[in-house]
Symmetry: D2
């Protein structure tokens, strides 16, 4: 059981911004993916190895983001990654994007489902993966999951 959400830090670069001078909305998902890959590595399931092994794939079935404050070129951003939902064969990952003042600039969620090949939904998440995710599960109300 962890007491802290997993954190990932990055800076808004020129290619993240658009002619309106702020983060172009879709790029938040690239940073979410970077944070997710760092998180999955942290819990012992590097996504690159899972894809190469090919036995566990976790394609997204849903992605969403809410934008609260513009993020601009040069901004330093921290992403807090936590598991928001954990089911038999799927899970949701939540991302809080915090600015330098610790204000929430945006949030995002991705939902992943276990597939064992291109077409078959898997039976259940491997026990070790489930345990790794559960250790970072923050349930609504902020309680750690079990």
């Amino acid at each position: 059981m962890t007491s802290e959400p997993f954190e990932y830090a990055f800076r808004i670069r020129l290619h993240d911004t658009d002619a309106a001078g702020r983060l172009f909305f879709m790029h938040i998902f690239r940073h979410a993916q970077d944070a997710l890959e760092a998180f999955m590595e942290h819990i012992g399931f590097p996504i690159d190895r899972m894809i190469r092994a090919g036995d566990i794939l976790l394609p997204l079935t849903h992605a969403e983001a809410d934008y609260r404050q513009p993020m601009r070129h040069g901004d330093a951003v921290r992403v807090q990654v936590s598991v928001r939902d954990l089911r038999r064969r799927s899970f949701a990952v939540g991302y809080r994007f915090l600015d330098e003042a610790g204000e929430e600039a945006a949030t995002a969620t991705t939902i992943h489902v276990l597939v064992t090949d291109e077409t078959t939904v898997g039976e259940a998440l491997p026990e070790r993966l489930r345990a790794g995710l559960a250790a970072h599960w923050i349930q609504p109300g902020g309680h750690q999951g079990h």
Copy 2:
């Protein structure tokens, strides 16, 4: 009042895919933006001119997508764009991504709010913009809006 949703077509290119061999999820939002820009031009409000003029900005407050079938390199995709919600100072745009068989491969929604400058939420959408959006408003249950 239109009888057809606005359509935009594209092909999945190599840069849309990832090592798992399918569309990398975030790229659906780039295609949604391409479709949105074509749609806004179609209703007489090209986003590039609005940003240059600077008096009407429509930043996203929310973006989401649901992925139903993998999209792969070379796939021809049609995007049906329609207005899903239309309020005083904000609106939602819906996107249906259809494969060559007409099957729904994915759907997306973006919510836009009127701001008159970096910090001020606008009073109300300009009447002409509201009318252009209303003509493509498909309300839950599929009825055209007024």
Copy 3:
């Protein structure tokens, strides 16, 4: 033998631009790839099928671009695609990015080498591919190749 270079058209979209208000330089290569895929399809060698078949791969060994005029959000751009060099197991593709006035806004070149698998350079380009490329070969001085 073609009398015209192959043409591909697109618009600069918001995600192509950056906070400096112009095309972010790397995105020209995404548009070059779009143009290349359309061109390869045109000559009967769709890249997606080649990658799926896996017997002919044409990875890039070099890419470059020269930027002559800023391209901005909303600009309509035509890309002229031609073969600039054609050798036994490699070829160069040239891209001219023309603005609405027909002015050259940028040029790009990509060099591709035949590999038959991850590690082996191929013997020679298949004759039909070579012929398709040769038909669009514009040699220095602008003469068509043979």
Copy 4:
């Protein structure tokens, strides 16, 4: 005068790869930009502030990359950034992409020219900027510049 080139590290993420299982070529330029922004910050000229101030702009006139070995999802990459050419109103930045074994997987070069506004080429690089760049200038043959 520095004895070491400036280094920037990153990992190849899923969105960097394509259906062929390797880094999609254009993404090397996004990583080059990330490395450049870290480098410019390091020498006291953060690009985001220069763009906001608007008095010194350094648009690219040229970008190129050579690809020597495939880079794959999960690879840890170090980028060595150095100045390769330094003129009155322009400079070239070189990037060496090294894999975990220290092998050169790719190299890239970007050329930047000083403009004082959209249309005017600047007189000469500010002295402090020139000095910061000169300290990282590695001339052909590998000698440090002066």
